[in-house]
């Protein structure tokens, strides 16, 4: 099995989850209020009260086949709005 880590702006969370559901992921976990720095911008906690929001970190444990489906769906989102996606190996306990 695989583990997919997605990190992107909280405001895109709904669109992203819709894409994940469309790719029929078995489940996902969301951490909001995440901050960070990418190539493009710094996201800090103190701006959360404005509408900008912070980042969301989404973890998905799934098979490679699901990753392939996800990939098509979310690559445009990530390239347009920014954010990162990394895959690693994971095996169920």
């Amino acid at each position: 099995m695989k583990r997919l880590d997605l990190i992107f702006g909280e405001r895109e969370l709904d669109a992203m989850l819709k894409s994940l559901e469309a790719a029929e992921v078995p489940g996902y976990t969301v951490m909001k209020h995440v901050t960070g720095r990418g190539p493009e911008r710094i996201v800090s906690e103190d701006m959360e009260f404005t509408g900008l929001g912070a980042n969301a970190h989404v973890i998905i444990f799934c098979e490679q086949s699901v990753i392939n489906r996800i990939s098509e769906q979310i690559k445009p989102l990530l390239s347009y709005y920014g954010g990162v996606a990394y895959i690693s190996e994971a095996s169920p306990l």
Binding site: R11, E45, E48, F49, T50, L52, A54, Y80, G82
Partner: protein, 331 residues
């Protein structure tokens, strides 16, 4: 006279707490107001100011200066972004220009609140219906900004399907802060009309507590504004100049319109402040979604890092002098 007004403004609790926050960043104190507490105060202030505005709108009715003022407010929130866009295009691409322009066409509720406190402190009367102008002015500039992108941007934006008119209007009218402000205004209006005892029971929450909560929030705004300064410096001298001179320019147009509308000095100041202030709540939220090509650090650091502090500390008393000079006989 301006100096004395500035001093009087600076020595009020809201401005002093704003300074306390700013200074905390300057001297590297670890004072912080963790999320989501600023959101609590921000929501509270919008709810309370909307509710109180609704009450007073019901009392004053829609006669006299109400309709003209609100129409003038809408006009200004359409005009200002166009002027800003033209100026910003000298240096920036369409996306950044449109996003910054929209922010300056919209308003800052906290600047408005601070101006109200300033007027109360000076014993200058003003009308509750100005809150309606505040609520109404939050959104049109967003629409102008998004239309500018739609018209002026290169045609092949990847996600341009987002830019249909429906979703533009949605972003403009239904973002959290505009929605809460308008909704609370309506609730205040309905309560005043149908349930006077409800008005009285809300008073300790929306009325009495307001000033202190404003101070607490301004403490946080001081921290947040000061933290934007480094990225403002990176944004360069053009934007820094823009963030100070544009509000003054907009204030100038505003005072002229206020003269035309024959507003009293209190209402005139509030109208001018609406023109001069820039949004760091509704507009950035909408722009982040619909114009991700624009750099958020540009529209945030100008509005929040410079224009907001400038208005709070120097702008309001300067605009008051302007009002007194240009429309001396009204009111």
């Amino acid at each position: 006279m301006e100096t004395s007004l500035i001093l009087q403004n600076v020595l009020t609790p809201p401005v002093l707490f704003f300074f306390l926050g700013t200074f905390a960043v300057v001297v590297k104190s670890d004072l912080e107001i963790p999320a989501p507490l600023p959101k609590l105060f921000s929501l509270y202030l919008l709810l309370a100011i909307g509710f109180k505005g609704g009450l007073e709108l019901e009392r004053s009715g829609f006669e006299g200066q109400v309709i003209p003022t609100v129409l003038a407010a809408i006009f200004m929130s359409l005009l200002i972004p166009l002027i800003c866009f033209a100026i910003l295009r000298l240096k920036f691409d369409v996306f950044n220009s449109a996003a910054i322009a929209a922010a300056y066409g919209s308003i800052s509720a906290v600047t408005f609140i601070t101006a109200e406190s300033f007027l109360e402190n000076q014993n200058i009367p003003f009308d509750g219906f100005m809150v309606a102008a505040l609520a109404i002015m939050e959104s049109p500039a967003i629409i102008v900004g998004l239309l500018l992108v739609k018209l002026a941007a290169p045609k092949k934006r990847p996600n341009s399907k987002r830019m249909r008119l429906g979703s533009i209007l949605h972003e403009a009218m239904l973002n959290g802060s505009a929605y809460l402000l308008l909704g609370s205004l309506l609730i205040g209006f309905l309560t005043a009309a149908h349930n006077p005892s409800g008005v009285e029971k809300m008073q300790p929450f929306t009325g009495k507590l307001f000033y202190g909560a404003e101070c607490f929030f301004l403490l946080d705004m001081g921290i947040v504004a000061a933290q934007r300064l480094p990225s403002l410096k990176r944004a360069g001298p053009f934007l820094i100049g823009f963030a100070v001179f544009m509000p003054i320019f907009n204030a100038f147009i505003g005072v002229m319109i206020a003269k035309l509308l024959v507003l009293g000095p209190g209402n005139a100041l509030l109208f001018v402040v609406l023109c001069a202030s820039a949004s760091y709540l509704a507009v950035p939220a909408a722009m982040r979604m619909t114009v991700p090509e624009a750099k958020s650090s540009y529209y945030i650091s100008t509005t929040l890092g410079l224009t907001f502090p400038f208005n709070i500390v120097l702008g309001i008393p300067i605009y008051m002098s302007l009002v007194r000079t240009i429309i001396p006989l009204n009111g």
